[in-house]
């Protein structure tokens, strides 16, 4: 109360409601992956390994691809899937979140959040899983 009185008495600044937020500075530009053929080839290879159940080799191919194209959200997502298949829930969750960070509004978003929810459920984090599922709803 005292504070308000002081504020009211001295008014070098006129309190106003906060204005509409200004547009953000331009977000990160999408840089086309220079290594696309190489990355596709490695992605292909990792899919083959996954199909054959060789998770370690699938992960190794994806890690190699990530070294060539570290901003590629799809690669992080695939690696998250591999870790999930290996029952490494914590890694799957973090890798999927990392993918989210690179592709927050794209098509991968839903798949990533679903993976996060599944992983959290496996780790007995029900509230966390529901929080992730909330992100699946549009808007």
């Amino acid at each position: 109360m005292l504070m308000a009185a002081v504020l009211a008495a001295c008014a070098p600044l006129s309190p106003q409601p906060a204005p509409e937020p200004d547009p953000a500075p331009p977000p990160a530009e999408e840089v086309t992956a220079p290594a696309s053929s190489a990355v596709l080839a490695l992605l292909d290879r990792s899919e083959g390994f996954m199909a054959a159940g060789d998770h370690d080799s699938a992960a190794a191919s994806l890690e190699r691809a990530l070294r060539l194209d570290p901003q590629n959200a799809e690669l992080w997502h695939r690696l998250a899937r591999v870790r999930f298949a290996q029952a490494d829930w914590a890694a799957a969750e973090s890798l999927a979140l990392r993918s989210v960070g690179l592709d927050a509004t794209g098509a991968l978003r839903r798949e990533n959040w679903r993976l996060v929810a599944d992983a959290r459920r496996r780790m007995d984090d029900e509230p966390g899983a529901r929080e992730a599922e909330a992100r699946l709803r549009p808007g």
Partner: protein, 758 residues
């Protein structure tokens, strides 16, 4: 009686032979496993679009021992055709698969990037090609020996020809000893009253090599002959020959013995055995007779003569045509100057060994012949070493300091993966001295401040980046009735300031105010989540960095910011395999939650501002502005430690500068560490740091002085990020920068005054 005596003698001989036999087999078997562990740098990957210049590729090929040649017909050779590079690569068995050797042509654009890679055999494009990795060191067995294991099938036929011709023509036929030559030698020795003549077969030479000392007594010769017979009885010719190829002593590199043709090839020619020409193979065979006497570096003439003699004998035995023999004799010896280095980059190897120790016992590393694939980038490592050395010299010169007093350490990582690309432990990188990057525990000073701010931002109802905080005199009570009065570096008080300025300008008092408000324990929580592996005591001085860490630990901490909140601990090893290529363990890309991405984003934006306009702005002149680097200076109490930690899109570098004797170097973070950091980042060439705003973050225009709302285009307005629903509630009229009126006291200030009881 005579019979009994004979029987007794025979019995004794039998016992002796049995013991020799045991010795032979145990040594023969044992030697197979005394393999050192081989350590490799990261391999260079080539693909279209990779930012790599032709000269950089040449540098790597040179490091790998590739040779330029007229015709590229064998692996390990290349030819430059203007902007194109033709090369026959060596294959290599990596941990994740086998890379075949290929004959390719790589095209470059104006020295900046790869535009095409074509397979010259098939004519098609090559999508991805991995060069063989360079060796950065070996971890030796205790007795200081080393091997580059060669299989009989992989050895050039010319080597076998030369060897058998010169040393043991009847190798394939005899039983380990040549009775005639042995008899002749025996007679000659008896006549001379000592040992004068050789006559040893390859088998006998192999046996001789099993012994470390070199006694040449008659008794020894007899034992060797017996053991040679036993060896031939137990093992076949090929096994014996292969063991010989890997065992024969070929030279000395300081205190390190060079055994075997594989290592000999590296030692004298810096190339794999399979790539040697006839004249080079003949040289190695020539050296066998006496590596000190026939040392091509110290006694080139006589060694060359003996090499030519070997070639003569090969020609005589019709193993070489006259033309080929002439050509070979005409060639210079071709021995390279450089010696084998036990370990390149000893500081980085120190990290490798530490990370291995968590997985393996020392004995496993010494004797199993493991292959370790590490993360070091040799080109960048060399540049960072140079930057540290020259950077320190420059500082000493500019400030009139005694030369050699300063020391430094640096760590460079790939932020996406956490891989350590370069590690420097001191200004002299040649020797394995005190590894400051790993072991110098130094107060981090202001490097801790971003984490204090993070702890505050975890309470969005109380703090956002423009929250007004007081940078003024304060008295912090300490245990035991003492007090602490933190002061700013410039001895000034800045009064009420928006929180972000407290970070970008590194104000001490304001930081302590914030830290005491959220609690030192909360700050320690954040530090631990970001990667700190221990729990320091919660002293208020921790808020100003009275916390000792090594440069590597600092890198671990800042990695969490650079990734946008994910823990990515620095790692030096990608994979370990057995000598046959079986993967032994994985050091996978590890990503764990650290701090909330939204908050990491806020702090990272402020760290960008720190470089743009804060205490890190000295970097601006040296580095392109569009890299948008983020960073923090750190200066410890008494200016004893000068730090800078900063990152771009995919590269993080941490630099420490100081003195080993802990005397003050009188250097702030921006004067000492920052120039070195700038040089290192220029070499590291990071991707620009284009931060992606998370969903819950909105930009707002803020008046830089007062922290109240402003608008675009207004004087003194800056755009800052805020979590949705937070931010200043008041605005200022545009065009006028506003100082905060002292009578309008924010809640925070009130609460601190109340808490301090003042």
């Amino acid at each position: 009686m005579v019979l009994v005596a004979l029987l007794a003698a025979a019995g004794a001989l039998l016992v002796h032979v049995v013991s020799l036999d045991a010795e032979v087999s145990s040594r023969f078997e044992g030697k197979r496993w005394a393999l050192p562990t081989q350590v490799y740098a990261r391999p260079l990957e080539l693909y279209v679009g990779r930012r790599l210049s032709r000269d950089e590729l040449l540098e790597e090929l040179d490091r790998l021992g590739y040779r330029s040649s007229e015709r590229v017909s064998r692996s390990g050779h290349y030819q430059v055709h203007g902007d194109r590079l033709e090369v026959m690569t060596r294959g290599f068995d990596f941990w994740d698969g086998s890379e075949p050797g290929r004959h390719v042509e790589v095209a470059f654009a104006a020295g900046t990037e790869i535009t095409a890679i074509d397979d010259l055999e098939s004519g098609g494009p090559v999508v991805l090609l991995r060069l063989d990795p360079s060796t950065i060191g070996s971890i030796y067995p205790r007795h200081g020996e080393d091997r580059v294991l060669v299989r009989l099938d992989d050895v050039p036929p010319a080597l076998i020809d030369a060897l058998l011709t010169v040393e043991d023509r009847q190798f394939r036929d005899h039983y380990g000893v040549r009775p005639q030559s042995l008899f002749r030698a025996l007679v000659a020795n008896l006549r001379a009253g000592g040992v004068v003549q050789g006559g040893s077969t390859i088998t006998q030479q192999l046996v001789k090599n099993f012994y470390l000392d070199n006694r040449r007594t008659l008794r020894r010769k007899i034992d060797e002959a017996l053991m040679a017979l036993l060896l031939e009885w137990r093992y076949d010719k090929d096994e014996i020959l292969e063991a010989y190829l890997n065992e024969i002593y070929l030279g000395q590199d300081g205190d390190r013995a060079v055994h075997g043709f594989g290592l000999g090839s590296q030692f004298y020619f810096q190339r794999p055995l399979a790539e040697l020409g006839v004249h080079e193979v003949a040289l190695l065979v020539a050296i066998i007779r006496g590596p000190s006497f026939y040392d091509p570096r110290r006694h080139p003439e006589r060694t060359r003569s003996r090499r030519d003699l070997v070639l003569d004998q090969m020609q005589q035995q019709a193993l070489l045509t006259e033309v080929d023999a002439d050509q070979a004799r005409a060639r210079p010896m071709g021995v390279v100057d450089r010696n084998l280095q036990t370990t390149r980059y000893p500081a980085f190897m120190g990290l490798v060994q530490r990370q291995l120790r968590t997985q393996y016992r020392p004995e496993d590393l010494m004797s199993e012949g493991l292959r370790i694939f590490t993360t070091v980038d040799p080109a960048l490592q060399a540049r960072v070493e140079a930057q540290v050395a020259t950077g320190l010299e420059e500082i000493e010169r500019e400030r009139g300091m005694a030369s050699g007093g300063l020391q430094a350490a640096a760590v460079v990582t790939d932020t996406d993966s956490g891989e350590v690309l370069a590690l420097v432990g001191g200004r002299n990188s040649r020797f394995a001295g005190f590894n400051r990057a790993l072991d110098a525990q130094r107060p981090v000073g202001s490097l801790v401040k971003p984490f204090v701010h993070l702890a505050a931002l975890e309470h969005p109802s109380r703090y956002h980046v423009a929250t007004i905080v007081e940078d003024g005199p304060m008295t912090v009570p300490l245990p035991g009735g003492r007090t602490w009065e933190p002061r700013n570096f410039d001895r000034e008080w800045h009064g009420p300031v928006p929180m972000y300025r407290a970070l970008t300008q590194s104000y001490n008092a304001a930081t302590v105010a914030i830290g005491m408000d959220v609690g030192v324990e909360a700050v320690i929580d954040v530090l631990q989540r970001a990667g700190l592996q221990r729990r320091p005591p919660a002293y208020p001085s921790l808020l100003l960095g009275a916390l000792e860490m090594s440069p590597l630990e600092v890198a671990d901490l800042y990695q969490t910011l650079a990734t946008g909140g994910f823990r990515s601990p620095p790692r030096a090893i990608r994979e370990v395999t057995t000598v046959d290529g079986e993967p032994l363990s994985r050091y996978p890309l590890s990503v764990a939650r650290g701090v909330e991405p939204e908050l990491a984003y806020l702090v990272n934006r402020l760290l960008q501002e720190t470089v743009r306009d804060g205490t890190g702005r000295r970097a601006r002149g040296a580095l392109p502005a569009d890299w948008q680097l983020a960073g923090k200076t750190g200066t410890s109490d008494g200016l004893r430690d000068s730090w800078f930690a900063g990152f771009g899109g995919d590269r993080l570098a941490v630099v420490w500068v100081g003195r080993d004797d802990n005397a003050s170097a009188q250097l702030t973070g921006s004067v000492g560490a920052l120039p070195l950091w700038a040089g290192i980042m220029a070499d590291a060439r990071p991707r620009p740091l284009l931060l992606r705003p998370p969903e819950q973050v909105r930009e707002r225009w803020i008046d830089g002085l007062s922290g109240h709302g402003s608008a675009q285009g207004c004087a003194g307005a800056v755009s800052l990020p805020f979590l949705v629903g937070t931010g200043p509630e008041q605005t200022v009229p545009c065009g006028r920068q506003q100082r905060i009126d002292e009578t309008e006291q924010p809640n925070l200030l009130r609460r601190i005054r109340d808490w301090l009881g003042g």
